[in-house]
Symmetry: C2
Subunit: 262 residues, 2 copies
């Protein structure tokens, strides 16, 4: 939101456009050159950083809302975006006074104080989505209520607003658990990639090193990738084979449970 | 709800006790003697069956709500209960007139017609939870608004209300995908069990047969179960080893991503 009028309209009439009690928070993993980071945002007047998020419009499906919010924050569309959990348990999320005060800090920027029963001060459950992007492709633009964005190493996330640290942890665990069950890397690697490239991505996500030969065997056995005839020429004596994802085959295997009984 | 007064109180004052726009639907898998079934419910006046569900109380955490709803429907507590997805996309869920009419059919039983802007007629997203139980332990009791319960084979689920078939499919796929990532069977098998017992459970969930020896090796390698010294005497020449779950070891391996890189 770029103008005071837009913000005032959201504060005063937002409940007519959006569902109350529900928000979407996005854990946007950014990968580049062996490093895994997440996108954080700092709202006006806040000391702590938080996750980018938004609300579900009454006339949008849930998936449409998630894609719109992600596009608003990153200018990227058609991403692999995965819903992973609903957060409705933490004390900070049950505490309406904390929610109320946090929002009031932000909206003080436009000279508005929310009433105690204001729709933005209500108890809100948040649906977590994660995405994987190449962070060099992301364009972020601070606006009237957002002072700053940053890319933070996943191994060094500071104390965030509300239960957002818990959301980040759950996203990372889900991403790791789904490494061999989803076409992770689909938005990150080129259409054709080398084994060292996908190996480096998986090492960054798991946060540790592991044997490359077993890894290749596992991905091929699962049917997640397939080896091409083509090689990439990267030096006089180096021309590694290229691979590509095989999401259809993988989906089929997953539905039949074949992947899991290997 | 057993009395007309309870139902009227829920219809007229429910929005003060529960969050609007959100419900919980439970896919309760019942396993016994190699068969996998799900619990279905038929509300008053409905031709179609649906999943048992309920609403999130304003003073309960999300997890508390899910456990309360499950206990209300099955009289069971302390179950392994797993949140798996939020449903907010299907056309039937976006269509408020359909929601409205479906509820009105039920509440006609107590002579109430809901207004178009009634809280129960609003667009509602549903959070799916699944549980695994031994269906011989479940006690279901029809009440004023519930005409009947039944256990239906997962391979033979009829057309359900709203998007409930989609919820069942997603639950089954998640259960299969998590077979080697969660202590599935924790509520189902005895504390100490034989390999044929856990093998039969996994075959029922995956809906197909697979080799028992590789299966044993896989569970032991993952650290999901451990073999005990003890055997069970089931005949003069049959005394198979007993096994038990090792959830702590498993959780640790999962957090480190070790399980996934095997």
């Amino acid at each position: 939101m770029n103008t005071r009028q837009e913000v005032l309209d959201f504060v005063h009439n937002g409940h007519q456009h959006y569902l109350p009690h529900l928000s979407i928070d996005c854990v946007i993993f950014g990968y580049h050159a062996h490093q895994l980071k997440i996108l954080l945002i700092r709202h006006h007047g806040h000391e702590k950083w938080s996750l980018p998020g938004g609300y579900i419009a009454r006339n949008e499906t849930l998936t449409q809302s998630a894609h719109r919010i992600l596009a608003e924050k990153t200018q990227l569309s058609n991403l692999f975006l995965q819903q992973f959990y609903v957060f409705g348990d933490s004390a900070t999320r049950m505490n309406r006074i904390e929610t109320h005060d946090t929002h009031n800090t932000t909206y003080a920027k436009v000279g508005v104080a929310l009433g105690e029963n204001h729709w933005l001060s209500e108890r809100t459950l948040s649906i977590g989505y994660y995405a994987l992007v190449d962070y060099l492709n992301v364009v972020v633009t601070p606006d009237l209520l957002v002072d700053a964005y940053c890319w933070q190493e996943v191994t060094d996330v500071p104390a965030l607003d509300f239960d957002h640290n818990e959301i980040v942890q759950k996203a990372l665990m889900t991403l790791r658990a789904q490494l061999y069950q989803q076409p992770i890397g689909y938005n990150l690697l080129a259409e054709k990639f080398t084994l060292p490239e996908i190996h480096a991505l998986y090492e960054a996500i798991l946060g540790r090193q592991f044997d490359r030969r077993n890894f290749r065997k596992k991905l091929l056995t699962l049917g997640l990738i397939r080896q091409l005839e083509e090689r990439r020429k990267i030096g006089p004596h180096r021309s590694p084979y290229l691979y590509e994802f095989d999401p259809e085959n993988y989906q089929k295997a997953l539905e039949e449970g074949a992947v899991l009984a290997q």
